[in-house]
């Protein structure tokens, strides 16, 4: 049960080599071993989306993936995309539109929103609602979140012209 494994991976652009328990989830590894606590543990069975992080460019549930599965992978968390400035416009829009209350879902929601906007530059409101539907928010009722994501999509589209 307590088998240990050595893993090497990139986390937010930095090389990391650690010895981890084989059964440790990615989000526990990020939070406990690397003190990257911006990814939150909400339901621990892959439904709420609060632990959403990016692995090799794809968003995943940090509670459903094991740390050992990330050996050799590139992992990005809310801390990484904050520092890089990649989602600065989304972060600003969420603050401006009050698309957050308790904030527990916010990091996961932002990564999911960025995932949408990276693949679809002009999403409809329906498409936004669809794409973030795996991330629960118990506070806002989602309307402000959809507004914020939509405003960023429009602004990014405008800046590309």
């Amino acid at each position: 049960m307590n088998e240990m494994c050595d893993i090497s991976l990139t986390v937010n652009g930095e090389r990391v080599s650690e010895r981890v328990e084989a059964r440790k989830s990615l989000v526990d590894f990020l939070r406990d071993d690397l003190t990257l606590t911006g990814s939150h543990v909400g339901c621990e069975h892959g439904v709420c989306g609060a632990c959403t992080v990016r692995v090799n460019g794809e968003i995943v549930r940090g509670c459903l993936m094991l740390a050992v599965q990330c050996d050799g992978a590139s992992v990005e968390t809310i801390e990484g995309v904050s520092d890089s400035g990649e989602i600065a416009d989304l972060q600003e829009a969420f603050q401006k539109r009050n698309a957050l209350q308790c904030g527990f879902c916010t990091p996961g929601m932002l990564l999911t929103a960025q995932d949408l906007l990276s693949n679809d530059q002009t999403p409809s409101r329906d498409h936004i609602r669809e794409h973030i539907s795996g991330n629960y928010c118990r506070c806002t009722g989602y309307h402000a979140i959809v507004d914020a994501v939509e405003s960023v999509a429009q602004a990014r589209k405008g800046s590309r012209k």
């Binding site: 339901c43 439904v47 969420f94 603050q95 527990f104 795996g134 118990r138 959809v146």
Partner: protein
């Protein structure tokens, strides 16, 4: 230069951002589980009862204590003080001594070096149970007169005579379900023993004082030996009021026993099984009315499923009875409330606190009256609204002095043109055979203040430092609702300084004592006033210093935009702060507030429990699939009274969020207990809260403009946390409307809440059969 007229940035009535917004979007805002463990810390896990009702014959900890990493285990006998955490009545053991009363009840707890070790060891605890028959249904509890608190009654007039003589009479029963809070951050506490008998507790709690008291009782130490602290919660909604005490209490007893810091964070399934929820209600009614729907008599029974202990049930029931009138004058009435004891988890506070269930009852009855008379619920409501200056006394004897429901409904109608909307729905239903649409409105009047007068008080602590920066502390807790920023705005306004100069600090019983829970929508009303009081006391002293310095009367000193003016002379706020210190004038003050005018007689269930009412109205359009029972909310239009809003952006967030949460309660969120009393929906995989696709695609929430509170609340604002949740009853009524369309609106649906696809489908089939039986064309 004399004082400019411009407003200070971040003052009242401005849409200032949430104080933690930047931390939330970057992941740097710390929740309790994000605080690094200090060396030597332990993690804890619970052993939960697998039986709804059983005698504990023996508990064997041998294997658990021998498991890797385990440091300690606790049972009831390890509690050094009083084994009780009941918030209202002393009937709630932290850990049971000989009997378990619900499936999921903690019977033991383990502390170990790591969370995995603790959770693994918890599975090794052997408990020998003798299962007993559980009481699970409200019918059975009522029949056995098995209650957690005495029945409550409200009466007026002669209801029996009214029921006999009226032109029309209806009677029956229906149910509404409970609701899990599903705060995204689960229950969590960290207890750290200090010197001597001291115990420090970080708790994700809406009620630090209750944690302080609970831990002190459990450990047998005075209140002053316990400090409870909370900076923020990842959501609360009432679920971290009394329920947080169990978590903090177990962590504290383990910490006491091991003399090491102990963290207890529940996995989601344990959280949902072990901690309380919104009360399911059974409603029985008999109502009489005239041909126009004017209600003459209403005999109403509300039976709340309190679960295994009293917890908040008596108070929730009182609030339910106090909201079963909603906006209507009821001349002859008898409201009976039963706080039923059953073998399920203890039901507790949840946003609305009985108000939603009371309004659910009266509005469903009004809809049934409307169908009976082949008229609209709006027409029935119109006949029964409280009058202005007449027919304006509630069932509990309080005069409705601030009735603006007519204005709120006019505002809603002006926004949406209800008549035209209704025509569109009827036209759609005529040509659509499988999908049917429904439309309904919902007026809300909600009473603001805790029913128990003593809770309507608050304290604050404000310091001004010699550089002009300010720290703010008060008894309210931040769970995402924006309380902290609103109170900071009040202080910024009072001092006329930029809000960036105010640092908001964690709630702690060491700074402001004897606090009330952040609940009953009262956070800003109470703590805003207390903070204002503290700021004004300091400001008065600083004003005297400035008056002496400038040698003019104090009445001529003006604080404005970070400066203090004396005619054409001025100094900065920071300079005055430094000068006050130099002159040996205190720059620190406590503030205090107690709500005026309120009183309540528990013996007769009468008085003036509420300082004021807040009002709102909603219209919702839904579609149901008559082949599958699925439903969708297509559009929602809301108007909410916020008085003179302290922060319109924050208030709008409360309105939108409360509405969607209320929708969840009434549609998808089904708590299902099996025949053995086991909750089978104890995780998000089986318990469905609203997701982004469930929110109305067309969703317009508006704050009622130009509506300052007639009472002297903080800058004439009104409370907003709970009231908009009840606007979601428009969705419930719209689903009923869609089903009723199958009878050409002549019959009322037989439907309980939540209106799950299964229930809607049954109601569709039932109303079709009934309509066919009565010869109606479908």
């Amino acid at each position: 230069m004399s004082a400019p007229l411009a407003r200070v940035p971040g003052g009242i009535h401005a849409s200032v951002r949430h104080d933690s917004a930047a931390g939330h979007v970057s992941g740097s805002a710390l929740y309790l589980d994000d605080i690094p463990n200090v060396p030597g810390s332990l993690e804890a896990a619970l052993v939960l009862s697998p039986h709804a009702h059983a005698r504990i014959k023996a508990i064997d900890l041998t294997a658990a204590l021998a498991a890797p990493g385990v440091v300690a285990a606790i049972l009831a006998k390890d509690i050094p003080g009083k084994n009780d955490i009941g918030p209202i009545r002393p009937d709630e053991p932290l850990l049971p001594t000989d009997m378990v009363e619900y499936d999921g009840q903690p019977v033991a707890a383990i502390a170990a070096g790591t969370l995995d070790q603790a959770r693994a060891a918890a599975k090794l605890v052997r408990v020998d149970y003798e299962p007993l028959a559980p009481v699970l249904s409200l019918d059975e509890a009522i029949e056995r007169e098995q209650f957690v608190a005495p029945p409550q009654i409200m009466t007026r007039g002669d209801v029996d005579a009214a029921l006999k003589t009226a032109a029309h009479r209806l009677s029956g029963e229906f149910n509404c379900g409970g609701q899990d809070h599903f705060y995204l951050e689960g229950q969590i506490a960290i207890a750290t023993p200090g010197e001597g008998r001291e115990m420090h507790v970080f708790s994700s709690t809406q009620h630090p004082t209750e944690i302080q008291h609970g831990v002190a009782h459990l450990l047998g130490i005075p209140f002053n030996a316990v400090t409870c602290e909370v900076r923020r919660m990842g959501g609360g909604f009432g679920g971290k009021e009394s329920q947080a005490t169990m978590i903090a209490g177990i962590a504290a007893v383990l910490a006491w026993k091991t003399r090491r810091p102990v963290k207890l964070r529940l996995p989601r399934d344990d959280d949902m099984r072990a901690t309380g929820k919104r009360h399911p209600f059974l409603i029985r009614y008999e109502v009489s009315f005239d041909d126009g729907g004017l209600i003459d008599g209403l005999d109403l029974m509300l039976a709340a499923n309190g679960g295994n202990v009293a917890d908040h049930t008596p108070a929730v029931l009182t609030r339910a009875l106090c909201h079963s009138d909603n906006c209507y004058w009821l001349p002859n009435l008898r409201f009976r409330g039963y706080a039923c004891k059953t073998n399920i988890v203890s039901n507790t506070a949840f946003r609305g606190y009985g108000g939603p269930q009371g309004m659910f009852a009266i509005e469903t009855i009004i809809e049934m009256i409307a169908r009976h008379l082949s008229t609209s619920p709006e027409a029935v409501r119109e006949r029964n609204f409280y009058g202005i200056g007449r027919n304006d006394v509630t069932p509990y004897g309080m005069k409705v002095e601030d009735n603006i429901i007519a204005r709120v409904l006019e505002e809603l109608d002006r926004n949406v043109d209800l008549a035209r909307w209704r025509e569109e729905i009827v036209a759609f239903n005529r040509q659509s055979t499988i999908i049917k649409k429904g439309l309904a409105t919902m007026p809300v009047k909600f009473g603001i203040s805790f029913n128990r007068p003593a809770l309507n008080q608050a304290g604050a602590l404000v310091h001004v430092y010699t550089d002009g920066s300010v720290t703010l502390n008060h008894g309210g807790t931040e769970m995402g609702q924006g309380l902290f920023i609103k109170v900071a705005q009040v202080v910024a306004e009072a001092f006329q300084i930029d809000i960036d100069n105010i640092r908001i600090t964690a709630t702690t019983t060491a700074k402001v004592p004897n606090t009330s829970p952040t609940a009953a929508s009262s956070g800003s009303d109470l703590n805003g006033m207390a903070a204002l009081n503290a700021a004004e006391r300091i400001k008065a002293r600083m004003t005297d210093v400035a008056a002496e310095q400038f040698n003019i009367p104090a009445g001529e000193i003006v604080f404005q935009q970070n400066r203090v003016y004396a005619g054409n002379r001025s100094m900065s706020f920071a300079e005055l702060a430094a000068l006050s210190w130099e002159k040996r004038v205190s720059l620190s003050a406590t503030g205090y507030y107690r709500t005026p005018k309120i009183h309540w007689d528990f013996a007769t269930n009468s008085g003036r429990p509420f300082y004021y009412f807040t009002y709102g109205a909603a219209a919702a359009e839904v579609a149901i699939d008559t082949l599958t029972g699925e439903s969708r909310v297509l559009r929602a239009e809301l108007v909410q009274d916020c008085g003179q809003s302290l922060n319109p952006a924050i208030d709008l967030g409360q309105i939108e969020g409360a509405f969607v949460q209320g929708m969840g309660w009434l549609t998808t969120e089904e708590l299902f207990w099996d025949e053995k009393g086991r909750l089978r929906t104890h995780g998000p995989s089986t318990y469905k809260i609203p997701g982004s696709r469930d929110a109305p695609p067309v969703f317009n929430a508006r704050i009622l403009p130009d509506a300052p509170n007639r009472e002297e609340t903080v800058f004439r604002s009104k409370a907003v946390g709970e009231p908009p949740l009840m606007l979601a009853l428009s969705v419930w009524l719209a689903i009923r409307d869609a089903i009723s369309s199958l009878s050409d609106y002549r019959l009322a649906a037989k439907l309980d809440a939540p209106a799950t696809p299964e229930r809607v489908l049954e109601a569709v089939d039932e109303i079709r059969a009934r309509a066919a039986g009565s010869g109606s064309a479908i």
